[in-house]
Symmetry: C2
Subunit: 251 residues, 2 copies
């Protein structure tokens, strides 16, 4: 059993993987492996396609391109418990950080939410997906969280499956601490925008039977802090923190 | 009861506060209040000195300076449960982020730790304290976490109070999830450097009776993610997440 996580390079590839396949790497991957990481032909990579699990592959470098020959399967894709983060987009650096952390913490779906006070309606979903991919490569996941197009809060609430709790990280008002309010099943955490929900939104949310207001302690947390704290607690109590394998980073 | 946190400007001042005192604000504070926030004479500020609790004060702007006249006390300083974060310094932007989040999550002491694989021995403690102050102003604390000078891991372990658990966020090996391993009392969370602890350090840590290895789930977390997740869970289970007041941000 290795005492430390392997530092093997892991790459997401956008095509189905199977043993024996020869995978053409992208120009960006070629550059990363050859110039930045200075890997040579024969280096072992971890690959995953988001569907078939994790694989080991051997790098073959050409002058201006690279392929990876898939040699063995190293990890089965086990479906994660569903955990959705619904969040109003925030300022850029903090937003990237939030998305990276949410991916590391095992969310399976990211839903950008447009609220009355959302700053900047234009969410760069492409960049969001890029951040998600990089974080998944880094943290050992073999699937990618789904990233939705931004949607208005009212629409999301109208279409909500009433059987699923929606944990509202409440800035004020009566609320139980998350770890006492949560219940098993699908998890969904809703974080408001930096200026908070509007009074109309807040009243609407509090009137809905599936919305469970939860508290994250006595301090005023920034949106991304609240999201990360809530996701960590949910995973600890209801999610997959019980299930860490003894070895890590093998694909 | 206000439904939303007040957006009142809060400032830390480096002198004892009491009702009736006239506090000379710094040039940076003057600039912030007048030019950035465009406040006028008569605006109500929240002030705290880290010792005497929270106060309300009235701003008086002059041409090139400002004072705040303390009008009332709004918050008592209640001692927080002790929660220490011991962390190996990491790259700059992630480091600032970690320190900000740790402050928001209520750590009372930050101890930079020098390990065998610590990148960059020179920790900018002054900048660290600045980040802590800003985060405390923003999140509604009326005291500041203590920030230690960097110290070597071996020294810290030698001087450790054996009665206090030190939760080691373990990258691999046997470990209980944090929320099942934790116990009431003083909390202390240790996060390794980006390259992990050296094998010698890791063996040493695992041999010490007060070191409690804890798991943070099946994924490989970046150092700052691990720290934030661990602190949030500790506060939820053993710390002050039970004690959120119904109103917030009043000083």
């Amino acid at each position: 059993m290795p005492e430390f996580p392997s530092s093997r390079t892991r790459l997401y590839v956008d095509q189905p993987l199977a043993v024996g396949e020869v995978i053409a790497l992208t120009e960006a991957q070629f550059h990363q492996l050859k110039t930045v990481q200075r890997l040579a032909t024969g280096a072992i990579l971890g690959l995953f396609d988001g569907v078939n699990g994790g694989f080991l592959a051997e790098l073959r470098l050409e002058k201006k391109s690279a392929v990876a020959v898939v040699t063995s399967q190293s990890q089965i894709l086990e479906p994660l418990g569903e955990l959705t983060l619904l969040f109003a987009p925030i300022k850029s650096a903090r937003f990237d950080f939030l998305v990276e952390k949410a991916t590391e913490l095992g969310v399976t779906r990211l839903r950008p939410v447009l609220t009355d006070r959302t700053q900047g309606d234009r969410v760069n979903v492409r960049r969001l997906r890029e951040t998600v991919r990089e974080a998944a490569e880094q943290c050992g996941r073999v699937e990618l969280p789904r990233v939705d197009e931004p949607e208005k809060l009212v629409r999301i609430l109208e279409g909500w499956n009433q059987a699923d709790a929606l944990y509202l990280c409440a800035e004020a008002g009566a609320a139980l601490p998350l770890h006492r309010a949560s219940k098993p099943g699908r998890g969904a955490v809703l974080i408001g925008p930096e200026g908070g929900f509007s009074p109309v939104e807040f009243a609407r949310l509090r009137s809905l039977p599936f919305v469970v207001p939860v508290s994250l302690g006595p301090r005023i947390l920034r949106a991304e802090t609240a999201a990360i704290a809530a996701l960590a607690c949910w995973q600890a109590i209801e999610g997959d923190w019980q299930s860490r394998p003894d070895t890590q980073g093998e694909a």
